[in-house]
Symmetry: C2
Subunit: 144 residues, 2 copies
């Protein structure tokens, strides 16, 4: 099977703070949870939820790009349920798209479905069961 | 089974840029790959690699905390092999710890092993086969 590589460097900043640096010098700063860390960055598990949101979000914008001007706002809430005991991994993740814009419900929901089923590499890299929900202009408009 | 929740909000910034905001207002800014995005942030798949590095890095520092002053530097290279066709998910990830310090090889390697096997929630949330390697003071000092 043919594969493609992707590489990243992450450096320790003292205490429990780590900073990853990617293309163009963009940074991801992380710290441990309260009581251990000092609130100097995202929790690694939050960064994981953010990577999932960015991934499905970009797919949706890409699939809807001809209608991009009709989209006023997109907020993506990613909510993960973790196992309570170590290793406390994600067992299930809900991705809630809150979209505002003059755009058909079917088009947006289709874009979310296609990303989740076929395209989003982050979603397909996770063991957790990932489910999706759409709230369009304040109304629930799809769930899966 | 008892679980614990974790939640994050990620907002669209126009084009293919998304920004996740977590505890204390810390941000993760992401953009699509070259040719689509405009290098305004990390790729979501890079952010995923970063979350893995931060997770195992914090575990290792925690396990070695009594020896923290003997650690001069830690760099973690995370290298992922992705499936070449959609959904292009990670199939295998190599985590390379490059550590400098006056510390026993066995102690550092044990900390990496314990994190990988038992504790790191990000590593255990991934489908990919995650392997580890340690380079201590310039010498290869463990691989698994």
């Amino acid at each position: 099977m043919e594969t493609n590589g992707l590489k990243l460097s992450t450096k320790w900043q003292g205490d429990f703070v780590f900073e990853a640096a990617g293309q163009g010098g963009h940074k991801l700063r992380m710290d441990a949870h309260q009581g251990v860390g000092n609130d100097q960055g995202l929790l690694p598990m939050q960064a994981l939820l953010g990577s999932l949101a960015g991934c499905v979000g970009m797919d949706v914008v890409m699939i809807l790009r001809a209608k991009m001007k009709e989209l006023r706002s997109i907020e993506i809430i990613t909510e993960g349920d973790k196992r309570q005991n170590p290793p406390k991994e994600f067992l299930a993740i809900m991705v809630i798209f809150i979209v505002e814009g003059d755009i058909d419900r079917e088009k947006v929901w289709h874009a979310i479905e296609v990303s989740g089923e076929k395209y989003c590499p982050v979603a397909h890299s996770l063991k957790a069961d990932v489910t999706y929900k759409l709230v369009l202009n304040g109304e629930e408009a799809g769930a899966k």
